[in-house]
């Protein structure tokens, strides 16, 4: 740590408290919607609460990031702060990896152990007596108890939309890297083009994904309720989709900032963070494509 400088300690800020209130109100509202809705009671109040919370969150995000950007532009951040942000972002992405790992773990467990056991395989196969005649297959279209969980008619094959989506995301990882190199070389115009292309690719991915969901729900009867295949399928692709949405939003903000001329060739951590995040989302998709669609 040879190059320590005096460290900038920011002044007190109201944003953390605003963020807490926002998050608390949002989630409390959401929980009330679910619980009251489940009981068949009115959810209007809960919706109001949820929306208010969401608005507070939006206000907070603008305010907080706004002040960080302002401080960064004022040159208050040292190289050491920059390193703190980098560590912070890397570990944040690691935590996201572990979040997905939980769902992938569930998928592997179900496919390798739970479903075969229910079908009578191995020394735990005695659980087959629960539902006699149940056949362990994957994709699981016939659930152990079809009364409670009617299975899907069919599942989505990998070589149609999912393949196109793979190509979209992989090329978007490529375009965002080109944009990054252009930024480092100081070509503002090139950055705009390639970053814009990345965002378009991300959005097209989302549109196709939405189409796939509609197809699954309306024509294939593949839903969240259709047993463990639907559960894992929508959980994994759904959370991934949410992350793509977030990533696209981040890239979009970066594009706006490029237009405003915020970044310099060697000071653009915000951009890099968004790009890292984008690569992470891409890698998760590749894992999804292999384990959810192909295998």
């Amino acid at each position: 740590m040879a190059e320590n400088q005096t460290y900038y300690v920011p002044e007190q800020s109201k944003w953390p408290i605003v963020a807490t209130i926002g998050l608390g109100v949002t989630l409390y509202g959401l929980a009330s919607i679910l619980v009251n809705g489940g009981r068949g009671e009115s959810t209007t109040g809960a919706w109001v609460m949820f929306m208010v919370g969401a608005l507070i969150m939006a206000y907070m995000l603008f305010g907080w990031f706004g002040s960080v950007i302002r401080e960064s532009r004022a040159g208050l951040y040292s190289a050491q702060m920059d390193r703190s942000f980098r560590w912070g972002m890397s570990w944040f992405i690691f935590s996201e990896v572990m979040f997905f790992a939980a769902f992938f773990g569930a998928l592997f467990y179900v496919r390798m152990f739970a479903v075969p056991w229910l079908g009578g395989e191995g020394d735990k196969g005695s659980s087959a007596m629960l539902w006699e005649g149940f056949q362990a297959t994957w994709p699981l279209v016939q659930n152990p108890d079809p009364e409670a969980y009617p299975g899907p008619r069919e599942v989505i094959g990998p070589w149609g939309l999912p393949l196109i989506n793979t190509l979209l995301l992989v090329s978007s990882s490529f375009t965002v890297t080109v944009a990054h190199h252009a930024l480092k070389a100081g070509h503002r115009h090139t950055v705009k083009v390639w970053l814009g292309a990345t965002i378009v690719l991300g959005l097209s991915f989302l549109v196709l994904q939405a189409e796939e969901y509609v197809h699954a729900y309306q024509e294939l009867d593949l839903t969240l309720q259709s047993g463990i295949y639907g559960s894992t399928f929508f959980m994994l692709t759904g959370f991934h989709g949410a992350h793509v949405t977030l990533g696209t939003l981040m890239l979009f903000i970066m594009l706006v900032r490029v237009f405003k001329g915020h970044f310099t060739a060697d000071n653009h951590f915000g951009f890099e963070a968004a790009a890292w995040y984008w690569h992470f989302v891409d890698v998760v998709w590749l894992a999804l494509f292999v384990f959810v669609y192909i295998l």
């Binding site: 300690v9 009981r39 050491q80 912070g88 659980s127 409670a148 969980y149 969240l224 639907g230 559960s231």
Partner: protein
């Protein structure tokens, strides 16, 4: 802030434990309904783990790590602030479930499905979001700790010169970032099962309730180390200070903590021996669990070796530290007994397990926190605490704690199941002793409150270095340490 919050939660969680022990004072149902009893055990566990122990350690980290490594503050102060404020928010939601229709969560702090999904009360959804908020808070706190340690050390402080408390926290933070998202994942699956008709934990849809336990304990076992490693760190400062000798085997301590952390990822199924894990799995998890005893043993050996031929003196922090070493070792041994799969079939879900984890958590985590608090109170407040009162606090806690938890070993071996409000008559005597001990321990903690308040208010002024044998950057600055102490970093040889 963290410490105040944590102590409040400690008292709240503690009073729930008092309800539990009051009910168990005598056989039969006297004070509360079984339903409420279950809510109490659940909330007691959740509040102590997530509300008391974890925030206390984060509080210590926030205060001590910058001082120990010569940094002005944590690396990302605003994020830090947010992760603090999220905690009261999460606990407000959690505690509010007590007043909801259908009552609070009643399925134990491990919230096994399907008790928590198909058969859970409606408030479970609120509980899930409370866990999410806590998880966000812990992850951000941990990211902050890592960024601080990796980036803000004073020039010359190499990794292997870092104080052990910093090392243990670095590793704890890593564990937190690795497993809190998994907890978030498992509660999210619960949320979906409850509200959106998925079948992760429902075998009739092809899922598996045992899947819940696997994912939960993949989080759960590292979590118990999250609650003990920082205490290891603090104890490794206190014992050398009062032995007036450097710590024996610094490097081996660091490696031992690392080994414990890594192993903690591959032992989770020792909590599940009885659910029908395949034989090969049982063997693997049994041996892996026993392996953890090796680095743990290294640490205990090093602490003892540090004291050996030291010129010992027994101020309150040292008393707590010595008790820590002895009692934690007892808890480690009962852990080994539980780790033997065939004998665990007998002990599982009895009071023996309750005795085990209270021996590692009360004299482990909680005594570690007390020891650290007394050790650094002079540095925080600029005043010495009242040594005589602190010693009283120690002895009453020590006796109370042993009275409360030692008899539980016998109860468990004799077959008393855990989480029940009533029991067979032959368990009556030990339960009464246990309850008396628990009341004693609980009441004693008010004394701690008194000592701390008096120490903050005034008392003999503390010098920069109140303990003769203590080492480290934190003792080079005046007591109390000035705001944003090291604005320009000090040099470390």
């Amino acid at each position: 802030m963290y410490l105040v919050f944590s102590f409040t939660m400690f008292l709240l969680g503690g009073s729930m434990a008092m309800v539990i022990r009051a009910e168990l004072f005598q056989p039969g149902l006297q004070i509360v309904q079984p339903e409420f009893f279950n809510q109490m055990t659940t909330m007691h566990g959740l509040i102590m783990v997530f509300g008391a122990v974890m925030p206390a350690f984060v509080g210590l980290a926030n205060w001590m790590i910058p001082l120990m490594i010569g940094a002005p503050d944590m690396a990302l102060p605003r994020m830090n602030n947010w992760s603090f404020w999220l905690l009261p928010c999460a606990f407000l939601i959690l505690v509010s479930t007590l007043f909801m229709e259908g009552g609070a969560p009643n399925f134990g702090w491990t919230f096994y499905a399907p008790l928590s999904t198909t058969y859970g009360p409606p408030s479970t959804t609120f509980f899930i979001f409370a866990i999410h908020i806590m998880g966000i808070s812990s992850i951000m706190g941990a990211i902050n700790v890592i960024a601080t340690i990796l980036n803000l050390r004073a020039p010359g402080m190499t990794l292997m010169k870092m104080p052990l408390f910093v090392w243990t926290w670095l590793i704890t933070a890593f564990l937190l970032i690795a497993v809190m998202p998994v907890l978030a994942g498992v509660v999210t699956m619960m949320l979906m099962d409850i509200n959106f008709g998925t079948s992760f934990f429902d075998a009739s849809g092809g899922g598996d309730p045992v899947l819940f336990q696997h994912v939960f304990w993949f989080f759960g076992h590292p979590e118990v180390y999250i609650m003990i490693l920082p205490a290891f760190g603090a104890i490794s400062h206190i014992i050398p200070a009062f032995s007036r000798k450097p710590l024996f085997g610094y490097a081996s301590m660091v490696y031992a903590v690392g080994a414990i952390a890594l192993l903690s990822f591959i032992v989770w199924a020792h909590h599940m021996f009885t659910v029908g894990v395949p034989l090969a799995g049982q063997l693997f998890f049994m041996y892996a669990t026993m392996l953890i005893a090796v680095p743990t043993g290294v640490k205990v050996f090093n602490w003892v070796a540090t004291m050996f031929r030291g010129s010992l003196s027994f101020e309150a922090p040292m008393l707590f530290a010595v008790a820590f070493v002895i009692l934690f070792t007892i808890g480690g041994f009962s852990g080994l007994m539980l780790a033997i799969a065939p004998s665990d079939f007998q002990y599982h879900d009895t009071y023996f397990v309750v005795a085990h984890f209270h021996y590692v958590l009360v004299p482990g985590a909680i005594f570690g926190i007390f020891a650290a608090a007394y050790f650094w109170l002079p540095k925080w407040t600029g005043h010495m605490y009242d040594e005589a009162l602190a010693k009283t606090h120690f002895w009453l806690s020590f006796i109370g704690m042993n009275l409360a938890f030692f008899p539980m070993h016998f109860l468990g071996l004799a077959g008393m199941p855990r989480r029940i409000p009533d029991y067979a008559l032959q368990f009556a005597d030990f339960n009464m002793i246990s309850s008396i001990g628990a009341f004693m321990f609980g009441a004693t903690q008010l004394l701690f409150l008194l000592i701390v308040v008096r120490c903050v208010r005034g008392g003999e002024p503390a010098p920069a270095k109140p303990w003769e044998g203590a080492e480290g950057l934190e003792w080079t600055v005046p007591s109390p340490a000035p705001y944003h102490t090291f604005s320009t970093p000090p040099e470390v040889k």
